[in-house]
């Protein structure tokens, strides 16, 4: 019988770097591999990525499998599933972790079906069961209204892990590991898609996912004008603006700033929720914030169940006064 051993992390590469989520996964993978007393390997797929092959080792990997070819310049489902299938069948890891990014969401389920196993997507907690040594995977379900813990008895046990579930590991440049190149005999005609255009829509100012302070607006803001005020506050606090789903769906703000289950996941030090009810699907994306402050005219709004401080009142009255106090203080300090 062939034995599945070790833990494998798929490390996403973007613009010549490991993504922040890939580094977080290496930390998580290292922790679980140590619990199992097994090896941690990393997989890098791309074009011209050999220079990156030591990076996963610095962050905890023992082995790095590199699939490097111009065929993998763009992420495409057919080519990446093919490459991962080959690496997994060769290495036979017991556990395979991917990030819950747009690529991970696309790659992991199809790969799981291909390998006749299963993946639990969007995990926020992974533990090893002390007795059975099985991977227990917990994820939000019902739009964040509940959580479910699953296990899968086929191998590899696969999970996609949500961003910011764990803080990134410290780099250790003294760590040693092995780099293994893997040739994948893929023919171009097996790739049934072609990327015609790739556009990055970075929003000016502080990146929402990196911001220490996030001011979030909901349906109650009423329009794009209102969001200007939130932007003013965010600017004073050197933070970023986010939104719940309705303002995005209504076109008041770009969809890229949606926070929640189907949007961005944020873990700022301070989150200020303005005129939003605090739906579970939104809280799924921001409940990791250290401090939550809420302004809402409805005292029964769900956001007050998770906030530390709140004001019950019309944001149109409360927010300008708050902004004025803050900016007056700033001016006095100068």
């Amino acid at each position: 019988m062939v034995e599945y051993r070790g833990l494998m992390v798929y490390c996403e590469v973007k613009e010549g770097k490991l993504t922040a989520l890939a580094i977080e996964l290496l930390g998580y993978g290292r922790k679980l591999a140590d619990e199992l007393g097994q090896e941690l390997s990393a997989v890098l797929i791309g074009s011209n990525i050999r220079t990156l092959s030591q990076k996963p080792i610095i962050f905890g990997a023992d082995k790095v499998y590199v699939v490097d070819s111009t065929l993998f310049k763009d992420y495409q489902t057919d080519s990446y599933v093919f490459a991962m299938e080959k690496v997994v069948k060769q290495v036979m890891p017991r556990i395979l972790l991917l990030g819950q990014s747009s690529i991970g969401r696309d790659l992991a389920p199809r790969l799981a079906f291909r390998l006749c196993t299963a993946v639990i997507t969007d995990c926020v907690e992974l533990t090893i069961d002390a007795e059975s040594k099985q991977l227990l995977q917990t994820k939000p379900v019902y739009g964040g209204n509940a959580r479910a813990t699953f296990t899968c008895e086929s191998y590899p046990q696969m999970a996609t892990v949500r961003a910011k579930t764990m803080s990134p590991p410290e780099p250790d440049v003294s760590r040693q590991g092995e780099v293994i190149n893997i040739d994948v005999d893929l023919v171009l005609s097996a790739i049934r898609t072609k990327v015609l255009e790739k556009v990055s829509e970075e929003i000016a100012g502080v990146r929402l996912e990196d911001a220490k302070v996030v001011v979030c607006g909901g349906r109650g803001i009423g329009g794009s004008e209102g969001f200007r005020q939130l932007e003013g506050l965010a600017k004073l606090l050197k933070g970023a603006v986010g939104a719940t789903r309705p303002p995005c769906d209504n076109g008041w703000v770009p969809t890229g700033i949606q926070v929640g289950l189907t949007g961005k996941i944020i873990t700022p030090d301070v989150y200020i929720g303005v005129a939003l009810s605090g739906s579970s699907q939104h809280l799924s994306g921001c409940s990791g914030a250290k401090n939550i402050i809420a302004i809402n005219k409805d005292p029964n709004a769900n956001i007050f169940n998770v906030a530390q401080f709140g004001v019950v009142g019309d944001w149109r009255m409360v927010l300008p006064a708050f902004i004025k106090t803050l900016s007056d203080e700033k001016n006095n300090c100068v």
Partner: protein, 266 residues
């Protein structure tokens, strides 16, 4: 164009959080009478995508829904929006499946339909939020797949699909037939028309049982599961919010500011 769209009946995910209560012994969500059943809003975007293609290209849109006890007035919604046919995979044997067993049954039903150019699914379901059905169907049927689509254009035997990425978007060309999962940026699902509602009322769904689609019984529903649910629970929030008051909203704002300073939050 033969277009298939997969939908699902769910508890209204937009219901206030207090409506979601768990039966911890059976690890199930309790269907409180206060929570309505609806067509999954994620699937409604898939219906909209299918109808948008039909608007331009013509053809037939067939909706498929899997599950036991499907309320006709609810699952007929795609017909009322403009779909032509509704197929229900309705049998207790289909119930309690996971992504694998559900995708398998849907793929076998699609195989039975036989002729298809486009298969649309929601990006995920609003109950288990797994996001695997579309990709699973594609893998089982050996079709290409594109996830998180926001715009679809058909050019001959190809589709040009705009899709969401983490920091923007991509435009991808793909050959037909293809499975596409749809994101909310496709645009608000259209309202049911009066004509559609009347047509839907007259139209009876086609019911397929496991034997109709040639599935292996041990591969569908609860029997076909590859993942085991160990526990369903709700995180407990501390609920210790300090409501900061004031005579006027402005004063409350000032008091909030001072509180945040004292607590060294700002």
């Amino acid at each position: 164009m033969n277009i298939i769209v997969c939908i699902k009946q769910v508890m209204d995910p937009e219901a206030p959080p207090a409506n979601f209560k768990i039966d911890p012994i059976n690890n199930r969500m309790i269907a409180l009478p206060s929570v309505e059943l609806v067509v999954d809003p994620y699937a409604e975007y898939a219906i909209e995508a299918a109808l948008k293609v039909k608007d331009v290209m013509g053809g037939k849109v067939t909706a498929i829904s899997l599950g036991p006890n499907q309320v006709r007035d609810i699952v007929k919604k795609p017909l009322a929006m403009g779909a032509d046919e509704l197929i229900l995979l309705e049998d207790t044997a289909f119930a309690e499946g996971d992504s694998w067993s559900t995708a398998y049954a849907l793929a076998m039903a699609i195989k039975k339909i036989g002729s298809y150019d486009l298969i649309f699914c929601g990006r995920e379901s609003s109950d288990w939020n797994a996001g695997q059905i579309g990709l699973g169907i594609a893998e089982i049927l050996g079709l290409p797949s594109i996830t998180l689509a926001t715009k679809i254009e058909i050019l001959g035997t190809k589709a040009i699909v705009k899709k969401v990425t983490d920091d923007g978007y991509e435009v991808v060309e793909v050959s037909l037939p293809v499975v596409i999962t749809v994101s909310n940026e496709i645009g608000s699902p259209r309202y049911q028309t009066l004509k559609g509602v009347i047509a839907a009322a007259k139209k009876e769904p086609i019911i397929w049982k496991p034997t109709d689609i040639g599935v292996k019984m041990e591969q569908i529903g609860a029997l076909g599961r590859r993942i085991k649910l160990i526990r369903l629970f709700q995180p407990v929030y501390e609920g210790k919010c300090e409501i900061v008051k004031g005579e006027t909203p402005e004063e409350a704002a000032l008091n909030l500011f001072q509180k945040l300073r004292e607590a060294k939050i700002l």
